[in-house]
């Protein structure tokens, strides 16, 4: 039963979902919620796909370009929204997603509405290497000065501004980092699924990202990771009911936010795991002496 799951494609998808969830989590850790991650992942997927398949450029170059364009798009749209209000940044990312889908449909070189066949060139090993790098990066980020700044802004915009933080700068930066990670997910998606069409980057894709984070827990990075793994496996089990997938997601979002707004894994859980490991560590050290 398990063997039939662990195909290379499923492993790719699992890694991509984790990346996608973490990329949504980074702006959220700064109090910025993105409705346009479907646009960010789509832009990167299309650009990198066009670079490798149509222009024949090497994959690493396409990967960097994809991450760059998603990051820039995220920063541009959020910066314009943030001129008014935090909530406007969310609406601007929604605008990005809508404009991106129209553009994908209109560009004839990448197949328009019909879809675009990308040469597959990603192995599960590459995806998981990318996931590992991103997780280490995000973990370091969370425990750094920048991560604590993000948290302060999330807790109170006004207090952080009073303490002399340029909040807009940090919010845009959070969108930029999250955008680059979403771009990486998009590059992997295009070169692993190898078939991209405008419809697959509809608003619904964003909902999957924030469902992962909300279900897993929005306090630490590990929540998004756990949510992505849990829901990807769960949905693979109920693949026969794929038409009811949005229904299931909708119920899940409402129930989680109503009864456990922190999600499954809270900061306390993560800390107790950390304490457990440090206790083992101390015990081993004492034994060694």
């Amino acid at each position: 039963m398990i063997d039939s799951f662990l195909t290379p494609l499923f492993l790719d998808l699992l890694g991509i979902n984790i990346l996608f969830a973490v990329s949504w989590y980074i702006p959220a850790s700064c109090g910025q919620y993105s409705f346009g991650h479907c646009g960010l992942i789509g832009v990167a997927a299309y650009l990198s796909g066009a670079m490798t398949t149509l222009m024949g450029l090497p994959f690493p170059l396409a990967m960097i370009a994809g991450m760059g364009i998603s990051s820039l798009a995220g920063m541009l749209f959020s910066a314009i929204g943030l001129k008014s209000k935090d909530a406007y940044a969310a609406i601007m990312t929604l605008a990005l997603a809508q404009i991106a889908v129209v553009a994908f449909k209109a560009i004839p070189a990448t197949g328009g509405v019909m879809g675009f066949l990308v040469t597959p060139m990603v192995t599960p090993l590459m995806v998981w290497a990318g996931v590992l790098v991103c997780l280490i990066f995000t973990h370091r980020l969370e425990n750094s000065r920048l991560g604590r700044t993000f948290e302060a802004i999330k807790m109170s915009n006004k207090v952080s501004a009073t303490l002399g933080l340029n909040t807009t700068y940090f919010k845009v930066l959070a969108f930029g980092i999250g955008g680059a990670m979403a771009g990486l997910a998009g590059v992997f998606y295009a070169h692993s699924i190898s078939w991209i069409e405008p419809h697959s980057f509809a608003v619904w894709l964003t909902v999957t990202a924030f469902t992962f984070v909300l279900v897993g827990g929005s306090e630490t990075m590990w929540g998004g990771v756990a949510g992505a793994i849990l829901l990807t496996f769960l949905l693979e089990f109920v693949r026969f009911a794929s038409a009811w997938r949005p229904f299931f997601y909708g119920i899940l979002i409402i129930i989680v936010l109503a009864f456990r707004p922190t999600g499954l894994i809270t900061r306390g859980n993560v800390h107790s795991v950390g304490r457990f490991f440090s206790r083992i560590n101390r015990f081993m050290l004492r034994r060694a002496e």
Partner: protein, 292 residues
């Protein structure tokens, strides 16, 4: 050219109807109701169900769809908004209403299928002659419906006690609660009215386009949120002006540029407006302050 502007105004009046439903909840109360797009879609699908499937007369269909809209609005408020307002972030009600929207889309897709659902009414293609140009009768009805809804809403919000209470709750929920207003009930009533406008505009859209579709909300319904932002938060008149500008812009794009760009135009306009006028066309700074 004149003809295109008139066509744009007709489309704009439809957008005005969609936008008013949004503006009531987002502009006045400051709550993001993302399910409004799907309530709009629900109105069109209810119209298909009653007109095409059950062959009911429009005299029954219009009130029934309005009642359905009130019910959908109340369900949204009860399951998605009531608890989540306490969280203090705009995102929590937005996420739960997106969840409710997904439930609605999924139900329609699984029960009615993903194909377009045809709606036909007797006067669908009737044209009315005005001098040298002729307009579709449906568009004229939509134009006047949206003006009537705007007038009624304007009167309701400025002159009736309940409307004034609604604005007070939008301004400051805590203080209005201290002054003895039942804020929960007022939010509930506002969602009911917004749902009514939502399904009515959906039905009208379905009749104008001749078909309902499960993905109607994603394309047409979400434009309402964009138009509220263009018009300025909290301003009903601004929302309607934005809707007319948007309608004309879309028709102009389809005629003088290319039809495939139509769905992106409004979002580009919003991009430009926020770049140069962050408050929207008729927004005031203090209206923006209320938003979390």
């Amino acid at each position: 050219m004149i003809n295109q502007i008139v066509n744009g105004l007709m489309l704009g009046s439809l957008y005005a109807l969609i936008t008013l439903g949004y503006a009531l909840v987002l502009g006045i109360l400051g709550i993001f109701n993302m399910a409004h797009a799907e309530i709009f879609m629900g109105g069109a699908v209810l119209g298909w169900l009653m007109i095409t499937k059950w062959h009911l007369s429009l005299v029954f269909v219009v009130p029934a769809v309005m009642v359905g809209g009130v019910a959908l609005g109340l369900i949204t408020e009860f399951f998605c908004v009531r608890r989540s307002l306490r969280a203090g972030s705009f995102f929590v009600p937005a996420a739960t209403t997106i969840g409710f929207g997904l439930i609605l889309i999924s139900l329609v897709q699984n029960i009615a299928g993903t194909n377009p659902l045809p709606i036909s009414v007797p006067f669908q293609f009737t044209q009315v002659q005005f001098g040298s140009t002729s307009f579709p009768l449906v568009s004229i009805i939509v134009f006047f419906t949206s003006l009537i809804v705007l007038a009624v809403l304007g009167y309701y919000l400025r002159r009736t006690p309940l409307g004034l209470a609604t604005r007070a709750v939008g301004e400051n929920p805590e203080v209005s609660q201290l002054l003895g207003l039942n804020t929960t009930r007022i939010v509930q009533i506002t969602f009911g009215i917004s749902g009514l406008i939502g399904t009515l505009s959906g039905l009208v859209f379905g009749i104008m386009a001749g078909a309902a579709h499960p993905h109607l909300g994603e394309v047409a319904g979400l434009k309402g949120i964009c138009l509220v932002v263009i018009g300025g938060m909290g301003s009903m008149t601004g929302a309607v002006i934005a809707a007319f500008i948007g309608g004309i812009a879309e028709v102009m794009t389809a005629v003088y540029w290319e039809a495939k760009y139509v769905d992106g135009v409004l979002w580009l306009i919003m991009f430009a407006i926020l770049l140069f006028r962050p408050l929207g066309l008729m927004g005031k700074a203090e209206e923006l302050e209320r938003l979390q």
